[in-house]
Amino acid sequence: MTEEIIISGFGGQGVLSMGKILAYAGIMEDKQVSWMPAYGPEQRGGTANVTVIVSDDMISSPIVSHYDTAIVLNQPSLEKFEPQVKPGGTIIYDGHSIIQPPKRDDIYIYRIDAMEEAARTGNSKVFNMLVLGGFLKVRPIATVEDVVRGLHKALPERHHKLIPMNEEAIRRGMKIIRKMN
C-alpha cells in the first residue's frame, strides 16, 4: 500500500499540521512516511501545501507529480491539483472554500463542509481535524486510535488536554463528508 496525498489551502488553515498528524498516524501503523512542505515566505492567508506519503515500503521520492488523494481547501489549490490526481483517485474539498467544484469524472469527488461545521460549533481551530476525519473515512489508511496516539506523540504534554476535542472533531468529520459523484 502506498498513498500519495497532497493537502493544499491557505496558510493558517492547519494544512501543514494536518499532514504532520497524518504522518504520525502512519508511523503508529508501522508504515514509512514522508512529509514534504512547500516552504517559503508563506504566512496566514498565503498558500500552503504539503505532500504526505504513507507506504508499507521504503519511500523513494518525496516529490511526486500525481497523487492518489488531493485535499483542497481553496479554489487556487483545486485548480492546481485537480489535473494531478491519478485516474481512480480522490479529491476532497471544503464546500465553503470552493466555489467551482471539481469536474473530472474519472476520480472520486467528496465534499466536506468543515468550515461551516467549525463555524457552527464556534471552534474554528478544529477545522483541519474535521477534514482529516473526512479523509480517514474515505481513505482508511489509519484508525482514529492511531491518530490519537500520534497526537500524544506529536503534541507537547501541555496541549494533551486538547486531544479529546480533536478526536471528537475527527469523528464528526467522518460523519459529515459526502460523496458528490
Partner: protein, 378 residues
C-alpha cells in the same frame, strides 16, 4: 523488536542535525540563521544542550564569525560544527581554507538553496563546486558527505565527527533545502558522552589547549609561512593525506545495478531520491537501468563509475543545478560512456517523471540508430 515500541520520531532533516549532534557528543555549535537551515539553531536553542551535555550553542553575529569561532574551537581539539545555507557557506570559504591549512577538525553543514547570489530559499544543489572544490584559496580538500534522507542527516553527523578527527580535515555535510525541510521517520542515536579534557589531551597532542604542557612543547597554529620550501613541504604532507583519504574513504550505494544494466543514473542528495523512483518507473517499463549514489562527493567514487562505464551505454547525471557533478562523472568514465545532464535549478526540483522524460531524450539521442520502438513504454 516491534517498531511501535522503538523510539521512532517524525523530524525535519534540520532538526535531526541538531538532535544528532547533541547525542554524538559535540562540544559546540556556532551559527547564524538562514533559510532553509534555521531549524538547526532553533532546535539547539529549544533543546538547551548546555544544561544537559554541556554543549555550547552560540548564535554568532555573522557567518564569518561562525567559521572563525569554529576555527578557534577546533584548534583546542574540541568537536564543533556550524551550519548554513548557500550564501552563508560562501562567506565561510576563507575560514575553511585557513582551517585546512592548519589541519583543524570541524564540521560544516551546508543546506543548499537556489543560487547564485542570494538566490532563492527553495532547495538547490548548485553548491557542489563550492563544497567539493572549495571557494577558498590554496591546495586544500575537504571531505564531503551527501545524505539523502532525514535519517542519514543524523548519521552523517556521527560519521563526520569520526572522519574530521581521523584525518584532521574539515568535513562538509552537503545537503539541500528539501532534505532539510522534509520530515521522515527517524531513529535517533544513543547518547555518547562528550570527551573529557584528559581524553582530548591523549587523542589530540597537536591541539593548542595547554593540556600536558609539562610533557610537551608548545603547539603553534598558523596558516602563514614565510619560507616557500616549508610551505611546499606542508602542502606535500597534506597532499599525501588527501591521496590516502581518496584510497580509503570512498562511499557509494548502488540501486538496481546488476550484470544486465545498460543505463546508469548518477545522483546524490534529493536528486537520488527522485531518481530512485524514476529508476523504478523505467525498470517497470523494461528498461535495464540502475543508479549509483555517491555518499561521499569527495573522495568521489571514480573507480566504481569507471568500471561500470566499461559496459554501459550511457549515463544520466541528475542534479538540481545546471550541471556541476556531471564534470566529475565525465572524468570518472575516462571517456568510456557518454554522460547527459538532467535537473532543474534556481530552487526548482525535478519530479520523477521529469527524470524519466530526460532519460527518454538521452536514449533517443544516444541510440537513434537502433533503438527499438516502444522499448521503454509498456
Amino acid at each position: 523488536m516491534d517498531n511501535k515500541e522503538k523510539d521512532f520520531v517524525l523530524l525535519k532533516g534540520n532538526e535531526v542535525i541538531a538532535k544528532a549532534a547533541i547525542r554524538y557528543g559535540y562540544d559546540g555549535f556556532f551559527g547564524y540563521p538562514i533559510t532553509p537551515q534555521s531549524e538547526v539553531l532553533e532546535t539547539l536553542a529549544a533543546d538547551k544542550p548546555w544544561e544537559t551535555t554541556g554543549m555550547v550553542v552560540l548564535q554568532a553575529e555573522s557567518e564569518l564569525a561562525s567559521i572563525n569561532m569554529l576555527y578557534g574551537a577546533g584548534c583546542t581539539g574540541k568537536l564543533v560544527f556550524t551550519s548554513s545555507s548557500s550564501p552563508g557557506v560562501a562567506l565561510m570559504q576563507e575560514g575553511i581554507s585557513y582551517m585546512s591549512a592548519c589541519e583543524i577538525p570541524g564540521v560544516i553543514v551546508s543546506v543548499g538553496r537556489g543560487g547564485p547570489g542570494l538566490g532563492t530559499i527553495q532547495p538547490g544543489q548548485a553548491d557542489y563546486h563550492q563544497a567539493v572544490y572549495g571557494g577558498g584559496n590554496g591546495d586544500y580538500r575537504t571531505i564531503v558527505l551527501a545524505p539523502n534522507s532525514v535519517q542519514e542527516m543524523g548519521d552523517c553527523m556521527g560519521k563526520a565527527a569520526k572522519l574530521t578527527f581521523k584525518w584532521r580535515v574539515p568535513v562538509i555535510v552537503l545537503s539541500d533545502g528539501m532534505i532539510g525541510q522534509m520530515m521522515e521517520k527517524v531513529e535517533l542515536p544513543p547518547f555518547t558522552p562528550r570527551r573529557t579534557e584528559e581524553e582530548i589531551g591523549q587523542q589530540c597532542p597537536w591541539a593548542t589547549n595547554g593540556i600536558g604542557l609539562k610533557h610537551r612543547k608548545y603547539n603553534f597554529m598558523s596558516s602563514l609561512e614565510f619560507d616557500p620550501q616549508t610551505m611546499e613541504d606542508r602542502n606535500q604532507k597534506m597532499a599525501d593525506k588527501y591521496r590516502q583519504i581518496e584510497a580509503e574513504e570512498v562511499d557509494y550505494e548502488l540501486y538496481k545495478v546488476n550484470e544486465d544494466t545498460e543505463y546508469l543514473i548518477v545522483a546524490y542528495g534529493i536528486s537520488s531520491r527522485v531518481s530512485m523512483k524514476a529508476v523504478d518507473l523505467l525498470c517497470e517499463a523494461g528498461v535495464k537501468i540502475g543508479m549509483l549514489r555517491p555518499k561521499t562527493l569527495w573522495p568521489f567514487p571514480n573507480k566504481a563509475i569507471s568500471q561500470l562505464s566499461e559496459r554501459i551505454k550511457s549515463i544520466l547525471c541528475v542534479e538540481q543545478c545546471e550541471g556541476q557533478m556531471i564534470n566529475d562523472v565525465r572524468l570518472a568514465t575516462e571517456g568510456q560512456a557518454t554522460v547527459y545532464h538532467s535537473g532543474r535549478s534556481g530552487g526548482m526540483v525535478s519530479s520523477p517523471t521529469d527524470v524519466v522524460e530526460d532519460f527518454k531524450r538521452m536514449a533517443r539521442e544516444n541510440l537513434s540508430k537502433n533503438w527499438p520502438k516502444g522499448y521503454w513504454m509498456k
